[in-house]
C-alpha cells in the first residue's frame, strides 16, 4: 500500500475552481488554496475519509495564515489559506468535521477570525481574563497581556439548557473535591440518567502560544515540555522534531534511541497510573495502591538513571542531554523483568474480580462511528477500533527500525480502554528492551544550524495519550515566530461528551478517568 497514492488521487478529484499550490516543506505535503474553497475542500476531504488532525492560524504582516492538518493512512497533508487581516472571515470546516469545532473557536478567540457558518460560535478559550475584542495572538497584542485586575466571574456563558419535568442541571467544577486539574462540566440529567454533558474548559490557559514567540530553540523545548506535565517527553520531542525539520538538523542514531526509551518510559508510567486511577474511581483501592507502587518504583529509576522522575527537559533540539551507561542499561532491563512479573500478578487480581468487571464492562461506550467522526486518537481511539499509531503509520527515528505492534480493541467501553493501556505497557516494555539492544556508540547531539527565516516544521509523534502534532515557524536570528502544539486531548475531549450519554451521573468520574484528557494540553 503506497500511501502517497491517495494524495495524487485526491488532487485529481478536486474541482477546477480549487487552485492548489503545492509547496515543499520537509516531510509534509503542503497545499495552499483560495479561502473561498476552504469549506469545499473539507467536504471533499471527508468524502475521501481524511481525518481532521489539527487546525491553527498565524498572524504575518496584515495577513492571517490558516492551516489545517489532515491525515490518511499515515500520510499528513497540510492545507493552508491566506486571508487579509482587515476582513478576517473564512468558511467554517466545523460544519463537516466536528473535530474542528473547538479548534476554530480557539482561533476565533485568539485571532478574531470569524468562521462563517460555524455551528456553535460561542467563545471557547476566552473566559474573562482579557477584554473582549482583544485578540492575544495578533502581533500587536503585548506579551504581558492586558490584565484586568481580578478576573471577573464568568457568569454568562450560554450553556445548553434542558426543559421539562424532572430534568435538572448539575454544575461540576472547575474546582473539584479532589486535587485534579480545573475544568467545568455541566450535566443535564433526569433522575440519575445523563441527558447531556457540556464541557467548559480553558481554565488552565497559560498563553503557551504567545510566550513561545521570540524564543530560542532550547528555550522553546523547555516550554514545550510544560504544555502538559504528564506528556513532557512527548511534547518536547514533537517540538524538537519540528525545529529540527525546519533547521534541517538530523539527530544522531544514539540520541534517537534514547528519545525512544524516554518516550516509552513515560508511556509505561502514565498507563500504570491510569489503570490504578480507573480502579480507584470505582472504589477498588487495592489496584490503585499496587499500580501507584509500581509507578513510583519506575519513576525512581527515572530519577536514578536520567536525573528526573518525569524525564523533564531531557530532550533538546538536536538530540538529548542524558546518556545511558552499560550499568544503567542492565538496571533498566532488570527492572523490566521484575515489572513484567509483578504486572502479571496484579492484572490477574483485576481480571478475576467480578465486581470490578461489573463496573467497567459496557460502561462509557464509545462507538466506532463516533470515534471516527471526532478523529479520536491514542488509547481512546484504539479501544474503539481506530487503528492508528504514528509509531507504525508514519514511523520516525527510532521507530523506523522496529515493528510496533498496535493494540486494537473494538468494544469501546471503559474495560477496553483499560486493556489497551495494559497491552501498550507490555509493548512499550518490549520496545525499551529492543532500543537498548540497538544502542550504538556515538554522539548525543547534532550541531544546531540556524534556520533561515520563515522555515517551518511539523513534528508528529505518538505521545502516551496519542498523536501529538507540533508546528513551528522560525523568524530571523534563530527565533520562534509561531509554535502550536496539538495535544491528543483536544481530539479526545469531545468524545467524552458522547460516551457518557446513557450512563448514570455517578458513573461519570470513571468514564472521565478512562479517557483522562489533559486540561493543560487542551487549554494551552
Amino acid at each position: 500500500m503506497s500511501s502517497s497514492n491517495w494524495t495524487a488521487d485526491f488532487l485529481s478529484r478536486l474541482s477546477t475552481d480549487i487552485t492548489v499550490t503545492q509547496i515543499d516543506i520537509s516531510s509534509v505535503t503542503l497545499w495552499q488554496i483560495e479561502s473561498h474553497a476552504w469549506q469545499q475542500f473539507a467536504e471533499l476531504a471527508v468524502q475521501q475519509n481524511l481525518r481532521w488532525a489539527a487546525g491553527w492560524a498565524e498572524h504575518i504582516e496584515h495577513r492571517f495564515f490558516i492551516n489545517t492538518c489532515f491525515e490518511k493512512q499515515g500520510e499528513y497533508l497540510l492545507l493552508r489559506t491566506i486571508i487579509d487581516a482587515s476582513n478576517p472571515e473564512l468558511p467554517s470546516q466545523a460544519t463537516v468535521y466536528p473535530a474542528a469545532n473547538r479548534s476554530e473557536r480557539h482561533t476565533q478567540d485568539m485571532f478574531g477570525i470569524k468562521f462563517v457558518g460555524h455551528p456553535d460560535d460561542r467563545r471557547w478559550t476566552r473566559h474573562q481574563a482579557w477584554i473582549e475584542k482583544n485578540y492575544p495572538l495578533r502581533k500587536d497584542f503585548p506579551v504581558q497581556g492586558t490584565p484586568v485586575g481580578i478576573t471577573p466571574p464568568d457568569m454568562h456563558y450560554p450553556f445548553i439548557k434542558s426543559h421539562g419535568a424532572g430534568t435538572y442541571e448539575i454544575p461540576v467544577g472547575p474546582v473539584h473535591a479532589g486535587i485534579i486539574e480545573p475544568g467545568h462540566f455541566r450535566f443535564q440529567a433526569v433522575g440519575e440518567l445523563i441527558l447531556n454533558l457540556e464541557e467548559r474548559l480553558g481554565y488552565v490557559h497559560k498563553g503557551i502560544e504567545k510566550i513561545a514567540e521570540g524564543r530560542e530553540p532550547e528555550s522553546l523545548a523547555r516550554l514545550a515540555g510544560r504544555v502538559s506535565g504528564d506528556t513532557t517527553v512527548g511534547h518536547c520531542w514533537a517540538a524538537c522534531m519540528a525545529m529540527e525539520q525546519a533547521a534541517g538538523v538530523i539527530i544522531p542514531p544514539r540520541a534517537a534511541l534514547i528519545r525512544g526509551i524516554l518516550a516509552e518510559r513515560e508511556r509505561v508510567a502514565n498507563h500504570m497510573g491510569d489503570i490504578g486511577a480507573i480502579c480507584n474511581d470505582v472504589a477498588f483501592v487495592f489496584a490503585q495502591m499496587q499500580f501507584s507502587r509500581l509507578r513510583e518504583l519506575w519513576q525512581r529509576t527515572n530519577a536514578t538513571v536520567f536525573g528526573h522522575r518525569l524525564l523533564m527537559d531531557k530532550i533538546i533540539p538536536g538530540g538529548v542531554v542524558c546518556d545511558l551507561s552499560d550499568e544503567s542499561c542492565a538496571l533498566i532491563k532488570k527492572e523490566i523483568t521484575e515489572l513484567r512479573k509483578e504486572l502479571t500478578e496484579v492484572i490477574l487480581a483485576l481480571d478475576l474480580n467480578s465486581s470490578l468487571e461489573d463496573r467497567l464492562y459496557t460502561a462509557g461506550f464509545l462507538s466506532e462511528e463516533i470515534a471516527a467522526a471526532f478523529g479520536t486518537v491514542g488509547y481512546v481511539g484504539r479501544a474503539s477500533g481506530q487503528d492508528k499509531d504514528v509509531r507504525r503509520d508514519a514511523p520516525y527515528a527510532p521507530y523506523d527500525q522496529v515493528t510496533v505492534k498496535v493494540t486494537l480493541e473494538t468494544q469501546g467501553d471503559i474495560a477496553s480502554r483499560l486493556w489497551v493501556r495494559y497491552k501498550e505497557i507490555r509493548t512499550a516494555l518490549r520496545l525499551i528492551e529492543n532500543f537498548i539492544d540497538r544502542l550504538v556508540a556515538g554522539e548525543l547531539r547534532a550541531e544546531w544550524q540556524t534556520p533561515v527565516a520563515g522555515s517551518e516544521g511539523l513534528g508528529i509523534v505518538e505521545g502516551w495519550r496519542g498523536e501529538i502534532i507540533s508546528y513551528i515557524r522560525f523568524d530571523a536570528d534563530n527565533n520562534i515566530a509561531r509554535f502550536y502544539p496539538r495535544d491528543p486531548s483536544q481530539l479526545n475531549w469531545p468524545a467524552l461528551e458522547k460516551l457518557v450519554l446513557n450512563n448514570i451521573v455517578p458513573d461519570f468520574p470513571v468514564c472521565n478517568k478512562s479517557l483522562n484528557g489533559s486540561y493543560s494540553g487542551n487549554d494551552l
Binding site: Y168, E169, I170, P171, V172, H176, A177, G178, I179, E192, C279, D281, V282, A283, F284, V285, F286, M289, Q290, R293, N353, S355, L356, D358, R359, I504, V505, P506, D507, F508, P509
Partner: protein, 314 residues
Amino acid sequence: MNWLIAILQTLLFVALAPLLAGWIKCCKCRLQNRKAPSLFQPYRDLIKLTHKQPVVSEQASWLFIKAPYIIFSATVLAATVVPLIAVDLPTSASADVIVMVGFFAFARFFLALAGLDVGTAFGGMGSSREMTISSLAEPAMLMAIFTLTMTASTTNLSFAISHVLNEGLVLRPSFVFALAALTLVAIAETGRIPVDNPSTHLELTMIHEAMILEYSGRHLALIEWASQLKLMLYGVLIANIFFPWGIAETFDVQALGYGLLAIMGKLAVLAIFLAVAETLFAKMRLFRVQEYLSFAYLLGLLGLLSHIILEASR
C-alpha cells in the same frame, strides 16, 4: 447506680466510636500493602476540625447550623438503647429497637434536609440518593429485627439478648438469615463499600459525603463523629445480638470489665471482616443497590419464615 452505668455505657459508646474507625482504617491499609495511620488518627481529625472555623454559606438557613447537633444527639440517643457492655440497663429497658430505628430515621431526616438546605446540586443529589437507599434499607432491617424479636417474643434489645444468652448455643436457621440480612443493611446504612465509598473525593459518586460536602469545622466534626457512632452501633448490634457471650449480666466491676473486653474483641474481628470485604469488592453501580437491598429484605423474610416453619412450634 444502674443509671450511672447506663450513662457511663453511652459515654463509652461515644468515646470508642473513633477508635473503631481508626481500627478499620488500619486493617484496610494493611490489606492494601501500605503503612497505616495511628489508631488514634480519627480523634486527632475530630480535634483538628473543632479548632477550625466553620464556613457557612450565605444561603444557609438556621437548619443547616442546627442539623449537626440534632444528628449527633439523635445518634447518641440511639446508642443508649443498644446494650454495649451490660444488659438490663434502665435506658435499654425504657426503649426498644423500633425506637432505635426511629432515632436513626430522625437523624437521617435532618441530614437530608441539611443537604438540600444550601441549594447546591451535590447536596440535593446526595439527599435524594440517601433517601432512596434508606427507603429500601429500613424495611429490610426491620424484617431482620422481627425475626429476632419473634424468637425472643420482645422488641426490647436487652431482653432479647438475655433470652439468647439463656438459651445457650442453639443453631437457629432464622438467625443465620437475619444475621446476613442485618449485615447487608448495616453496610448500606453506614455508607461502606460496595454501596458508598466513605473516602472518595469524587463528588458525583458520593451519597453520604455529598450531603455533608458543605460542612466544615465543628459542624463537620459532629457529623463525622455521628457517622462513626452509627457504624459502631451497627457493629455492636450484630455482635451482641448474634454473639452475646461475654456481655455483663451483673453490675460488678469484673463482669463489666469482661463485658468491655468482649465487645472490643468482637468489634475488632467484625472490623477485619469489613476491611477484607471492602478490599475485595469494587463499589457497585448505584442502580444495583436496590437489588442488593431487595436481597437483604428477602433474607430477612426467609429468616422470618424459617422461624415460623422450623422453630416456632418448639
